[in-house]
């Protein structure tokens, strides 16, 4: 296990590449999900407002 993590002494470079890539892809997906959530929330609120107006 230690051998695997050490990557033959090249661990800073190998893991620096892989982890940064994983991190950035994760950030991209989370940001996308957040953007979608907040947009959906907005659309729902507007729909509710419109329904209220119609009732009055």
């Amino acid at each position: 296990m230690i051998d695997f993590l050490a990557m033959g002494g090249y661990w800073p470079y190998v893991w620096g590449s892989y982890l940064v890539m994983a991190g950035l892809l994760l950030v991209e997906m989370i940001q996308l999900r957040y953007r979608r959530r907040s947009l959906m929330g907005w659309i729902r609120r507007m729909a509710r407002l419109r329904a209220q107006e119609e009732r009055q």
């Binding site: 990557m7 470079y13 190998v14 950035l24 991209e28």
Partner: protein, 250 residues
């Protein structure tokens, strides 16, 4: 200009695209996860260390896929942008805009991994190698495209103007690449020459191809998801959006 382009293909209608993409995304996501799992296992565990570079060569399994996707996505973005500009297909615009951030991200990652691979291989993080330099300029082109899109308030105008920029950029990419290559060979005395790994073992090649496919599928998944959000944003007041809302959150 005429509006006739919009009704040509059913899948270019926003609602149809939205539904179809929504159905496809989970599948693409599953394939992506599977490919990454296999590719990472093969690349980090199974594949033997390189006889010259030791374990540092393993960066190739993410360096090459990110570089390829960075270049490929730029061309794809320009194609969509051109289709959107010439035939006035709204969906093509949406796709072009959705591709840009992922393409820029991959281009950045190829530079990042290239630098980290360069340190153990050449002794420095950055050399003004033709390929690294071209990728850096490609990253600037992506940033310019996104900045222009963001700077123009009117949506149609933003799409068209950045489409022109993407097309100018795609014509320039080969010119930039060859001039940088030429510049590099002229100055080779001062810099370090970068050569490819001589021959690649089968396991390494197979792993690399799996990782390329994984990056590709990831791009498809994320771009489709972003295109959906983009579409919702543009059509937030359209009836089809309201209809889909009532049927639960999809």
């Amino acid at each position: 200009m005429s509006e006739r382009g919009i009704q040509w293909f059913r899948f270019t209608a926003p609602a149809n695209f939205y539904d179809l993409a929504g159905r496809l995304i989970p599948w693409f996501a599953a394939v992506t996860v599977a490919l990454f799992a296999v590719g990472l296992y093969l690349g980090l565990v199974v594949a033997p260390p390189d006889y010259q570079q030791g374990d540092s060569y393993r960066i190739i399994y993410i360096h090459v896929p990110t570089a390829w996707m960075g270049m490929f996505l730029y061309v794809l973005m320009a194609v969509y942008a051109a289709i959107g500009l010439i035939w006035r297909i709204k969906m093509a615009d949406v796709m072009a805009k959705a591709i840009a951030p992922t393409g820029a991200l991959f281009t950045f990652l190829s530079l990042w991994t290239g630098a980290l691979w360069g340190r153990p291989t050449w002794g420095v993080y950055w050399v003004w190698d033709a390929r690294l330099t071209s990728m850096l300029i490609l990253l600037f082109l992506y940033l310019g495209y996104m900045a222009l899109h963001a700077a123009i308030d009117d949506r149609q105008r933003a799409s068209n103007a950045s489409a022109v920029l993407a097309m100018v950029g795609v014509v320039n990419v080969p010119i930039i690449y060859f001039s940088v290559q030429w510049w590099n060979t002229l100055h080779q005395g001062a810099s370090i020459t970068v050569t490819d790994a001589p021959t690649m073992a089968t396991i390494m090649f197979v792993t690399l191809m799996i990782m390329v496919l994984a990056a590709w599928m990831y791009s498809v998944t994320v771009v489709l998801a972003r295109a959906r959000v983009e579409l919702l944003e543009r059509e937030r007041n359209a009836r089809w959006v309201q209809e889909r809302l009532e049927g639960g959150s999809k």
